[in-house]
Structures are given as C-alpha cells and as structure tokens.
Amino acid sequence: MTTTDRPTPSILLHVGVIMVLAGLWYVLPDYHRAVFSRVMVLAVFAMGYGLLFGYTGLLSLGHAMFFSAGLYGAGMTMSMLGWNSLAGLGAGIACGAVLALVIGLLALRTTGVAFMIVTLMFAQVLYLTILYFNEYTGGDQGFSLRRAARQIGPFDMTDPATRYFAALVLFAAALAVMLYVVRSPRGRVLVAIRENEERVRMLGYDVFAAKLAAVVLSGALCAAAGATYAILFGYVGATFATIQYSILPLLWVLLGGAATVLGPLFGTLFMYYVVDITSNYTTAYLLFVGVALILLVLYFPKGVLGTVRERWLQWLP
C-alpha cells in the first residue's frame, strides 16, 4: 500500500504468478485447463469489484450489472451488428464504463447501507430490462455467439489453448492496471477515503470525484471481464445479471482478502473448486461453501492474502 516501500518483490511476485498460470497450461489436464480459463476471467470481475470494495471501502451489491453490461455490450454488438471480437470487447468495456458513470453519479449520493440498496436496485432494474427486451436479449435463455464471430485476427477463441491464453492476457492486463492504480498517489487517496473520508475532504480532495473515478474504473474492469466472457465462452445470458452474480464477487474478494491485488484470484479459484468438488458428491454443496466461509472468517478474518500480509508479507499490495 505504500508507494515508497520496496517495489521489487511485489512486481516479481505478480510476474511470477502470471508465469505460473502460463506454465499450468502445460501440466494441467484438460478439465482443469477449462476451469482455470473461466476462473481467470471471473477473477478480473472480482478484481474490479475489489477495487471499489477493498480499496475504496464502498460495498456495492449490484456489480452484476457491470459484468452484464460488458457481456451484453460485446454479445449484442457482435451478434446483431456483426462487429468483430475486438470491437465487441471495446463496446462491452464502454457500456460498463458509461453505466458505471451514470450509476455512480446517482448512487454516490448515498453511503453505507443505502449505497448497497441503491446499487442492488439498479442491478435488478438492468436484470428486468434484459428480460423485458427478450426479443433482442434472448431473455432467460440468452443466446450463443457464432463461432465465426469469436475470432481476434488469426486467433480462434473457440480453441481451448487460445482461450486459456486469452484469459491469461486479460488477467495480466487487469493485474497491471490494479497494481498501477493501488500503488499510485490516487490509489492512496482511495485507501484514505476508506479509512477516514472526512479527513480526506479536509485535506482538500474532492472525495466525490475520487469515488466516482473508482466506480467507473471498477465498472470498466468488471465489464472487460463480462465482454471477455462472452467472447471466450460464446454464451450471453440473463443469469449473469442476477443478484447471485453481485454477491459472488463480494465472497471471492472476502475469501482472498479485501484490499489485496491477488486476493480476488485466490478467492475465485478456491470458491470455484469448493463448489466444483463438493457438487460431485452432493446437491447440498452450498452447505460446504457455507462451512468454508465460516472457517475462513474464524481463522482468516481478513481473507487469506489479507492475513498473510498482516502476519508475514507486509509489502504485499
């Protein structure tokens, strides 16, 4: 969190994580390769969420709307307007950023619980809007993207290897953005707002503008994840706009450690596998998720990486 302290180990660590993820492709069996592709994209969603929740201290319960804005922004421009994947990705991110700007302007007039409720309501509005215009959105069922549309230059996103490395590229880019932001002076202002908003104002900062910037960047990151999800996995559906997908990033971030850069990846991966493994044995897999959460709250109240940072690695961003 401190810009002046020891930049090198944290940079090395993050480059190392990306290299490990790249190397995993060559050792993992097919099934787990697919899981990791998905997890890396969802981890970007979690990172975007974590920027707002972990660093700025704003608890939103409506981030599914930003993921969906990216998902539908990319999916609909590609399927209906025939845009290519790259343009679709751009459209998705733009949709998320613009939506975040509008929602931010309205929702940031509130704080605390009211902010949670307002973001939750807006996310529901988007979900119901998607269902209402089912003629275009496919409603509940959603729609699939044609294989031909899912190309970026010579790269075919339907190929598992390309998909894996495309997810990794997105993840690495998001990681770089997060690292840059949280280590920058403006990132320090966000953390300061979380710690003591009134004091930040009395240091002469426009707190509203700083929070709005955080909402927009967070929304854009989540939308980038949504758009990439549409392109890589070829499916766009209203499930992703449900409340469940607003709660999940919160859990991922809490598990991994709020206000850590790598926590979201860890949390997403862990949660994905808990659900994946336990649902092989029982339909009551949510019970195991619950138990896992209770254990984490008991033994790692700051999330796994948050606790690691507190006890051992204070330089962890």
């Binding site: 810009t3 320090r188 004091r199 240091l203 002469g204 900062y205």
Partner: protein, 248 residues
C-alpha cells in the same frame, strides 16, 4: 475602509441546530499574520464557528470572506485549496497507514494540483513537514501505533503540509503532557512565521503566552476581543469564563 484586506472576515455568520443558535450573527475579522486564540466555555460555539469557516458545516445565514473573496458557497475541499487548513479536535488521522503516508496525502494534493507530482517532490514535502513537527524518525511507523501526543503532532503535520495561509487548530494540546505542550508552543510560533493561526484552546496559560489577540465566545456570540492583557482584565470575561474555571 481599512487599507489592508483582512485574511478572514465573517459577517452576520449564524448556524442553528434545531432551535439552538450555536453561532449567532458573528462578525469576526482576522488580519493576516496573527496568532489568534478563540476561547470560551464549553458549548459557546467555538468549534461550530471554525467549522463554518472551514466549510464542514453550512451556515444558516451570513457570509465568510477569505482574502477578499466570498467563499460562503464553496465546499470544504475547495476552501482547503484556497489555503484554509483545519486540524480536528478529535484526532483524525489514517490509523492504518504509515506516518509518512498520512502526510504524503496532504502534500500530494497540492503537487497534483500544480502538476509537479514526482516521487522526489512528494518525499521532500512530506519529510519537511515531519521534520518541522519532529516526527521524521517515525515516518515508517503505522500511525495508529503512535503515542497519543505524537498523533496530535501528526495531525498538525498534516495541516502544515498543506502549506495553508490560515491554519485552524481545534484544541491541539488536549491530552498532551507539559513537555509536549512546550514543544507545541515553539511549533506554533514557527508555523506563524508564514501562516495565520486560529487556535481554539482551553489551556489559559498557553493562550496567554501564544496569542497576539484573543476572541472570547459565549453562547454563540463574541463576548470580548483584545490582547491577552485586556482579556485578563475584562470583567465580563471573568464572569463568563475565567472566573468560573478559577473557582472550579
């Protein structure tokens, strides 16, 4: 008309909470370069008054003029940029951040504004403020772990790092030891070399020693104003404040 524009002027400044007039039509003038103390019994409206000046609270009526410009409608953060810094009565720092980062947050805002934000400038500005307050050696400590007296100093350092023209100190010595207060007096004198200081304080010997002029508040109004000697001899002040505290 006075030849020199005062640094700060309030005209008919009022603030009501429900039926209570915490600050009641206050006309107040502060020339540049002064160390001014505001004293008065608890509940006299001192903190409310400086909150109106710094923009933390909106007035019910009246106006605040800073360097000849009406700033009544400006939000607090814009007033800080104009040079009004406020340090909190109840220590308000970023307890989870390092001491350096606390002060760096003050410094970087000005640098960001001037487009001169580099790591070196930031470091220099922050260390400068820490050296002036004697906290330089503790730059790396987590500020929440500092002793109370040092946290109060950090609070002042954060105000100082803003390079304000008007520094408002709200009961800065509350809870400090005698030795710490002595250092504090020297610190305020040094600050006053290039800033105007508005000081709310209960510690009368300190006020008498430090302030050039004293404004006495009582029930939301200015009861008296003058040099320390004049205030000491003022009968109304003795009744309202000094006498009461001497009996206690």
């Amino acid at each position: 008309m006075a030849a020199v524009t005062p640094l700060l002027e309030t005209r008919g400044l009022s603030c009501s909470f429900g039926g209570l007039r915490a600050v009641d039509r206050v006309d107040f003038t502060l020339p540049a370069g002064e160390i001014r103390a505001i004293i008065g019994p608890n509940g006299a409206g001192k903190t409310t008054f400086v909150s109106l000046v710094s923009g933390r609270i909106a007035p019910s009526s009246g106006s605040v003029v800073f360097e000849g410009e009406d700033i009544t409608g400006l939000p607090a953060h814009r007033r800080v940029r104009k040079g009004i810094a406020y340090t909190f009565q109840i220590t308000s720092i970023f307890p989870k951040l390092a001491v350096f980062d606390n002060v760096a947050l003050s410094v970087q805002r000005a640098l960001l504004h001037e487009g001169r934000l580099t790591a070196a400038n930031l470091r220099q500005g922050a260390m400068d403020a820490l050296e002036r307050t004697g906290l330089a050696e503790r730059a790396r400590e987590i500020s929440g772990n500092l002793a109370y007296g040092h946290q109060r100093l950090l609070e002042v350092a954060m105000g100082l790092a803003l390079k304000p023209r008007l520094l408002i100190l709200d009961e800065p010595t509350q809870g400090l030891s005698d030795g710490e207060i002595e250092n504090f007096v020297m610190l305020v004198r040094r600050i006053a070399e290039d800033a105007t200081v508005l000081l709310i304080e209960h510690n009368m010997p300190l006020v008498m020693e430090l302030a050039q002029r004293i404004t006495v508040f009582d029930r939301g109004r200015i009861l008296a104003e003058g040099t320390p000697a004049e205030i000491r001899d003022d009968r109304a002040v003795q009744d309202a404040y000094l006498g009461a505290s001497a009996d206690a």
